[in-house]
Symmetry: C2
Subunit: 210 residues, 2 copies
DNA sequence: CGTCTTCGTTCATTATATTGGAAAAAAGTC
DNA sequence: GACTTTTTTCCAATATAATGAACGAAGACG
């Protein structure tokens, strides 16, 4: 969620990485996946149709393969290209965030109180927040990088949700999804404190296969 | 969220595609993104550092670029490799789900009551649910495809969250994130009704930049 | 131990990606 | 329309991806 400067540190970073890191990641990943299956380079070569040499080079981070070669490798592991190139789910263990853990109180001013419900150490593809808006309080956001969406649900109160030119009033129990790659806002238009749960989604849904 | 048979239709599809389709998709996408910005091949070439010739070939589906070249193009558009290779986000507009809309009441039995908070017509990369568990009620799930994670927050009550071999008790206001690609469960261990908000994440997080 | 097999790396060759400049096509201006 | 400019495509040259065969190391076996 990239709401305002107060949250700058939490925004997804759309900046890339040097190609070296990409091939480094790929190399490590292929090596790991292959080991996990107890396959030799020869076995993977046969299954994937990519030469042992190339696989060896990839694993030693000496290669910059074409998309087609990369896809063949992905398929050999029963994965899409996206799955191969992305991080494995981190060894995500059960991580608990306690109600009183101040680390996750992200913002508390006269406009809004926001508490992060998702761990700070996860990559920022999806974020989860509890948002409390006092009467008249608002959470306004600049557009975010392309494809970003939000889900919100109103647990208490009455809130206007705005996205691009659209807006709607949400009552308690109502939910909404909307684009967050355009200016957007949540405004408490009721008389009491509003309580919202907000999901920010930065990742794109996969193309079939990639 | 793919919890039980009652939700079988909601899982993400990981199937692949032939290389020709990959380069076809890429070609069309690059052409479209470039047009949308009103950039010439020369402009994109300058920004990306990939030759005009290569870009032209890519757009005409004549090229099988390396990962490094593809990444450079993605960056020129301010995207990660994953974003370039994946479908554009659907034309997500503001969509509201009302508290009393029965369409989104997903399950209501003696173990759990679940209401979907995200629209049913979105691709199933992230789903958002309200879950009510009566005392002793439980929501048990089989493992899900690799990389699936969940976030949960307890709005009321006391709940045990289990994932793989781990488990923790969550009190009101507590949150957790955990792997959902292993057997997992949410169990109401308190004396009253528990109210949870649950986020299911099917998409893989991008490698930084990919 | 010696011999054989498997495995990963090296190396030279082949195949193909990528480029820069020229040519052709398209667009813009008068 | 003629002319100029811009854009895209073509083409040959260069760079690099990808290969198959050889090599060296490690492991298995008698």
């Amino acid at each position: 969620m990239n709401e305002d400067e107060t949250m700058a540190g939490h925004s997804a970073d759309g900046a890339g990485q040097p190609p070296e890191t990409l091939t480094r990641h790929l190399g490590r990943r292929v090596r790991h996946l292959r080991s996990a299956r107890d396959w030799s380079l020869e076995t993977l070569a046969r299954i994937s149709g990519v030469s042992r040499s190339m696989l060896s080079q990839i694993e030693r981070e000496r290669a910059n393969p074409t998309l087609a070669v990369t896809l063949r490798i992905a398929r050999a592991f029963g994965m899409t290209l996206g799955e191969l190139l992305e991080s494995p789910g981190s060894a995500s263990r059960l991580v608990v965030i306690r109600a009183d853990d101040r680390t996750y109180h992200y913002r508390s001013d006269r406009n809004a109180r926001i508490r992060t419900l998702s761990p700070l150490n996860l990559e920022k593809d999806v974020e989860f927040y509890e948002v409390q808006l006092p009467p008249g309080g608002a959470l306004r956001s600049a557009p975010h990088f392309a494809g970003t969406r939000e889900f919100v649900t109103v647990q208490r109160g009455r809130v206007r949700v705005e996205s691009g030119g659209d807006s709607e009033i949400l009552h308690t129990g109502d939910s909404a999804s909307y684009r967050a790659d355009v200016p957007h806002a949540l405004v408490n238009v009721g008389h009491g404190q509003a309580l919202l749960f907000l999901v920010d989604i930065y990742c794109q849904s996969p193309v079939s296969g990639v």
